[in-house]
Amino acid sequence: MSDVIQASGLGKQYRRTWALRDCALAVPEGRVVGLVGPNGAGKTTLLRLAAGLLAPTCGTITVLGERPAAGPAQLARVGFVAQDTPVYVRMTVAEHLRLGAWLNPGWDNDLARQRIAQLGLDPKRRAGALSGGQRAQLALTLALAKRPALLILDEPVASLDPLARREFLQGLMEAVAEHGLSVVLSSHLVADLERVCDYLVVLVASRVRVAGEVSPLLASHHRLSGPRRAPGTLPAGQEVITESHTDKQSNLLIRTNEPVLDPAWTVKPVSLEDLVLAYMSRTGDDAPARRQQLGVVS
């Protein structure tokens, strides 16, 4: 299976600040990929680079094997829904569909009309008069009806109420099931990702901290608690992601592909939220060094 997005050494600089720096990423085909990370991690920049809205300052990114926005054919294969789902406020819903039909050779008019009808949107309504949820649905409809191979969504549900959020994600999942497209979705709401994603990428300060299929990731991470001990004494193959210690007790979140056999530990499974938070709070490159240092002290 090939990668729909491939990036290496990717960077984007705005005047003096780097929004994204030295980012390497590979997103496999046929997945619904959740991209999570704290604010300022570079999620939006990464996705806009992938959509061809931004040009990289350095490094390379290929999307579906080509430079993003390389030409009409490449653009036709990528659907994009931007943050806050912008639409033309003065144009009606029907005019948005016409826009889609005019600008996209692969436009699926039946799909667009059906979705609008299902959503109960009045085609004569101006987009500016729609609710946030309806506007997001309209933007999603536009992106889906161009029948892309890859759909990129940048925090599409961030500003929606819980009900609209569920409906939006449901609509997205139905489309994915029907058309089998690859999806990359950024969010800082792990609960939403849990519902829809089967692949997870955690991005912190431009770096991918962890990437992989959700179920193997959950299966290979464990929460351990037991008598205090130095993490350095763990068997090889058990990588500590986070740790906290009291005088008597140690709490660890570890990654391992083997079962945890030590009877001193109480082993608990982790939730996706635990996993994401663990990787987000783990300090990046200096993490192994700090672990050793702690090991020496205790």
Partner: protein, 350 residues
């Protein structure tokens, strides 16, 4: 993409058409009467000796009536401000509004490259801008044709008597409005692409456009072609402005307002010169006696002492050369600005 561009352009197009229709109705309601006044004035078919007099009478009649003078000025002002208004309200928001509202992310992720998007946007807007401005200009030219003919016959004496080279007439007739419209629109679009917010872009567009439109007639247009120079007898001058100063009129300043034998020429500067061709402002002593200074003998006296009038001018025959040259400059600027928009949108993607 063209259809989308037209759809998005709908509101502006309706506004422009409404303004043009209102102007057309105003002109159509008053134009025939103006033409009939001209027909009754006897200028057409006049004897050469009486033409200027009849033409002046006609212009005086229009001026006294008030309405025509106001309408004439209104039309001229409308054509002058149209390119600025277009630059502000069509040009500046063209790219800036998309960036501001985030809809650029929608527009530029359809199956249309940014280059094509901008080509169509600038093409539709630019052509419409030129059509509207030139349309207004042609309507005004039709309406004001009798006034132009009267001025051509040597009519003068009031504000209506503006020659084809006068700033207001030159900039509102012929093909220059095309150039101004294209430039105003492209300037607005470029300011919007750079500033990325519509309202500040509008302010910058207005400021730059105003400066350029003032600088052009003052410093650029007169120098598009090297002026010609003529030295003529002071006694041959028709319309002049004479200032005398000092004790007994010992100093004088003589400006010519038309050039004998060159009707409709654009006079750039004029002044008295002595036999050696040097500018002169001192009245020859022999001409300072009160009866001469204040009498009809002043110019013959100057002429007897070798004083002539030097005039630098652009001949009337160069009118279209000036029109083409200035329009070409503005169109070239518009194309350069549009080219910059392409670079900006493609290289420094936002």
């Amino acid at each position: 993409m063209i259809r989308l561009s037209l759809l998005q352009f709908r509101a502006q197009a309706i506004t422009a058409l409404a303004a043009m229709a209102a102007f057309a109705i105003l002109l159509a309601a008053t134009g025939p009467h103006l033409a009939s006044l001209y027909a009754a004035s006897g200028i057409s078919g006049c004897q050469p000796a009486s033409c200027a007099h009849l033409a002046s009478n006609f212009l005086q009649q229009l001026y006294a009536a008030g309405t025509y003078w106001m309408l004439y000025l209104l039309g001229v002002m409308l054509i002058l401000v149209a390119p600025a208004v277009i630059g502000l309200f069509w040009g500046a928001p063209l790219i800036a509004r998309e960036l501001e509202t985030g809809t650029s992310a929608l527009a530029w992720t359809q199956s249309v490259t940014r280059t094509r998007w901008l080509t169509v946007k600038l093409g539709v807007g630019g052509l419409a801008a030129m059509a509207v401005t030139e349309g207004l200009s042609l309507m005004q030219a039709w309406w004001a044709a009798p006034i132009g003919r009267a001025v051509g016959h040597g009519g003068g004496g009031n504000y209506l008597a503006m020659g084809r080279f006068s700033s207001l007439v030159f900039a509102t007739h012929g093909i220059t409005p095309l150039g101004y419209a294209a430039f105003g629109f492209a300037l607005g679009a470029t300011a919007g692409a750079l500033i990325r917010r519509a309202v500040p872009a509008m302010a910058v567009t207005l400021a730059i456009f105003a400066v350029i439109q003032i600088a052009t007639p003052l410093w650029i247009r007169p120098n598009l072609f090297p002026p010609r120079r003529a030295v003529v007898a002071v006694t041959s001058l028709g319309s002049i402005s004479l200032q005398q100063g000092g004790l007994d009129g010992s100093h004088f300043n003589l400006g010519a307002e038309d050039l004998p034998g060159q009707p409709g020429a654009w006079l750039l500067s004029s002044g008295a010169v002595n036999a050696a061709g040097q500018p002169v402002h001192t009245t020859p002593a022999a001409c300072t006696t009160p009866s001469v200074v204040n009498g009809p003998g002043f110019f013959p006296c100057l002429a007897r002492h070798g004083i002539r009038e030097a005039i630098s001018y652009q001949p009337a025959s160069r009118y279209w050369a000036f029109q083409w040259a200035e329009t070409a400059i503005y169109l070239a600027l518009a194309v350069a600005l549009a080219g910059y928009c392409f670079l900006r949108l493609n290289r420094r993607r936002t």
